[in-house]
């Protein structure tokens, strides 16, 4: 049963990943990434990490992907040019990717980690549930936790500064919705 779930989720994750890089339209790429993220959440559940799986579905497949969909709808698809700055790039790239995969697999499987061939030790029923992760975050990893919250705040402010309309920016369409409260923060064009 576990093997069936693993292979279904693995095929979903791999198919989603291939869909992301193969789809012409960025909108379909985003949808393929959502399939990939849900399959990964199933894999996380198999690895008895319920909190990470829930965060994956809620944060990633929920919030981040909605942001992607909004930006794709705003910017629009648009075809990619077939011009290659490096000749034969589309042929060399798969070779490099296969070489990277083989190298990574050799590096990990050829290591002396004996426990790789097991299912891992028996863990208690509370392994990876929100209580355990929350205790770790607030007791052992309090500093990284706070640092990541500051990083999120910085990223939000940075994105507002980057994407805000400028007052007299070049090439901007003038709009009456221009946010005046950002005038002091936005860099001079």
């Amino acid at each position: 049963m576990e093997a069936v779930v693993f292979f279904v989720a693995a095929i979903g994750a791999l198919g989603g990943a291939i869909g992301v890089i193969a789809m012409r339209n960025p909108f379909y790429s985003v949808l393929a990434l959502i399939v990939h993220l849900f399959s990964l959440a199933a894999l996380f559940l198999l690895l008895t990490s319920a909190f990470v799986a829930a965060a994956q579905v809620v944060v990633y497949a929920g919030a981040v992907m909605v942001l992607y969909v909004f930006v794709v709808a705003y910017v629009g698809g648009g075809g990619e040019s077939a011009w290659e700055p490096i000749p034969g790039q589309r042929l060399l790239a798969p070779l490099l990717a296969i070489a990277l995969f083989v190298e990574l697999s050799i590096a990990v499987l050829g290591s002396a980690l004996k426990a790789l061939e097991t299912k891992g030790p028996e863990v208690s029923a509370g392994f990876g549930n929100p209580a355990a992760i929350g205790r770790l975050l607030l007791e052992k990893f309090l500093l990284p936790f706070e640092a990541s919250s500051i990083l999120l705040l910085l990223a939000a402010v940075g994105a507002i500064v980057l994407a805000a309309r400028r007052r007299e920016g070049e090439g901007d369409t003038p709009s009456k919705h221009s946010p005046s409260r950002l005038e002091g923060v936005s860099p001079s064009p």
């Binding site: 690895l47 942001l67 296969i98 499987l109 990876g128 990541s148 507002i160 070049e170």
Partner: protein, 99 residues
């Protein structure tokens, strides 16, 4: 399933993300491929956490999710800014900063 299956799947997903970054031109799809690579790393972290039988690797995975969200927000802000200035959304045309 043994842990090594998860690790091999994770390296396969990482290689897929690298392939996407190498062959695609649209900055938006390149951001999506970065997500693929970060998620492959997350899968490896959670698998190793299960292998050791210790929840600390899952905390790492949660922090990686935070980093990925920050990267998405800043990257999409850049894409919107590029689009507003009517520059082409193509990483090969946006090469002014290249030496």
């Amino acid at each position: 399933m043994n842990i090594e299956w998860y690790i091999v799947l994770s390296s396969l997903l990482f290689a897929t993300g690298v392939l996407g970054i190498l062959i695609r031109r649209s900055p938006m799809v390149i951001l999506l491929c970065l997500e693929l690579m970060l998620n492959a790393g997350n899968l490896a972290l959670v698998a190793f956490s299960r292998m050791v039988g210790n929840g600390q690797g899952q905390v790492f995975a949660v922090i990686v999710m935070v980093i990925a969200a920050c990267e998405v927000v800043v990257g999409l802000g850049l894409i919107v800014a590029i689009f507003r200035r009517r520059l082409p959304l193509n990483v090969d045309d946006l090469r002014e900063l290249r030496g």
